[in-house]
Symmetry: C2
């Protein structure tokens, strides 16, 4: 019982925005300019989205990052956060709260409300975050806006987090770059804001490039083809997993990258660093190529919840 | 695995607002007028906020009602909802989805997004709802605005839900009015919107009149005194529990009423039906009276989470 109050007291040390009303009111009240807002709510559940032995500061950072990644995909500017938190062991809770404060501060994102609950002992934690953001002036891109003939692009590199997850499952902490890519994803907020006016469609890569590209194509009523050899892989992943077709398929079907996947009319160059990995066309479904030749689809296109 | 998709498909049958984008995008995009928004996120957890054998339609209705009650306390007009849902047994899930659609439709409240997760089998459900509302033009009342000399008022009757919970715990279904008050609370949205321009402070009664009045007084830097004999009790509760001091204290310390508790300058009459139950004054803490004489505080002022 004291746990909730000390946890909320810890949150209050950084929930200082006027909209938070000291986390002592029924709801948060937030002043906004006229226009569109973007609202997202993503859950991280223990033993589903993170391993039970993951450190609380990694869980807090990831909870913030995966939700910010959804705003990034909309080109949105983060405005405020509300936390839905299941209390557990007190030291873990307090470490989580401290790390949450740091993660929110890095993005100048005020905590303005939420709820906490103490479940029956032994229940897995279920951590939810709601984010409110301001949509870009020209409108928020959707998954469904791609046009036949558009090229498909992705920011950064893919597959690092998937390799990092496999390493964490074995208890390994090296290569550190891969483990860190899994534990501490970087939401592409600046990139999303820059890209929003330019793209025809955009989404974040949460479940794997292939499955997410297939989702964008389906939402847009199109087919997509991806050149597996074009996928951008990090030096760390190439050194760890190699560069053959199987290694690239593993990278293309691994989740947790939180890069931005977007469509641009052919001939346009993206305003941020990105790699062209395929194209959208009339039709439906996803096809792959490897060194110019068709490639059979893998059994799984990515992480299906 | 199919569970999530059939559940989300069921949600899609009523998540038809453009902001929902078919529940197929990273985030919801909502057009708003300029001004203040009210955002709230409340959790209902199995075996904490509802008994494990509670019917899914009751849980869905209550999840919507308790969150709407937070908007009511701000005088806000509901605009949109996002659901955070832990999947379980499929028939329960589908019944929940159907009832959620009905509950949202009753308040013309579009479902625009959220997240689902399948926990390890046997984990208690953790159900979160985020609501976005439009604040009243004159500003949303806070808990902290009460002034010394204000009278304290409450809408409706109190204690019905607490008696209903006690009945549900024994498996009883009568008196139906009390059981229903617990299972199907009515959010006081119209009352909250009408009262918002008038009150100096307002909140909903979620944990019990005494503890919530003490919270309003503390937030306002004041003391509060409550006349236990003035509390409005329903005929059903009077018939069930009697009208002596103990029965009234039980009603005043029971949660789940979701009535509105508000402060008004002395001499003003509230614009909606309500009962004057006390007053705020310089000082701190809560004092009770019974038939004009001071009354010792009960061990517990209400439901402390």
């Amino acid at each position: 019982m004291t746990g909730e109050f000390s946890f909320i007291d810890r949150l209050r040390t950084f929930a200082t925005h006027p909209a938070a009303r000291g986390l002592a009111d029924d709801a948060a009240v937030l002043s906004l300019p006229a226009g569109e807002i973007v609202v997202t709510h993503d859950i991280l559940a223990e033993a589903v989205h993170y391993l039970p032995d993951t450190a609380p500061d990694d869980v807090a950072a990831k909870l913030v990052a995966v939700n910010l990644s959804d705003l990034a995909a909309k080109g949105a500017r983060p405005l405020a956060a509300l936390l839905g938190y299941t209390l557990g062991e007190s030291a873990w809770d307090m470490a989580f709260a401290a790390a949450l404060g740091e993660a929110l501060a890095r993005h100048d994102l005020p905590l303005i409300g939420g709820d906490t609950v103490r479940l029956v002992a032994g229940s897995p934690r279920v951590l939810g975050l709601t984010l409110v953001g301001a949509a870009p002036a020209g409108g928020a891109p959707a998954r469904s806006g791609a046009k036949a003939g558009d090229a498909l692009w992705v920011t950064g590199t893919v597959g690092d987090a998937g390799a990092g997850l496999a390493l964490c499952r074995t208890g390994a902490s090296e290569p550190a770059e891969l483990v860190r890519a899994y534990l501490r994803p970087h939401p592409m907020l600046a990139e999303g804001q820059a890209l929003a006016p330019q793209v025809t469609a955009m989404m974040d890569v949460s479940d794997g490039v292939l499955i997410d590209a297939a989702r964008m194509a389906a939402a847009s009523g199109l087919a997509v083809r991806i050149a597996i050899d074009a996928l951008p892989l990090s030096d760390a992943l190439l050194a760890h997993a190699g560069n053959d077709c199987d290694a690239r398929l593993a990278a293309a079907t691994a989740g947790d990258d939180y890069q931005l996947l977007f469509a641009l009319p052919t001939g346009q160059t993206p305003i941020v660093a990105a790699t062209r990995i395929g194209a959208l066309a009339e039709g439906e479904g996803i096809t792959l190529s490897w060194q110019g030749a068709p490639l059979t689809l893998p059994d799984s296109l990515g992480f299906a919840h």
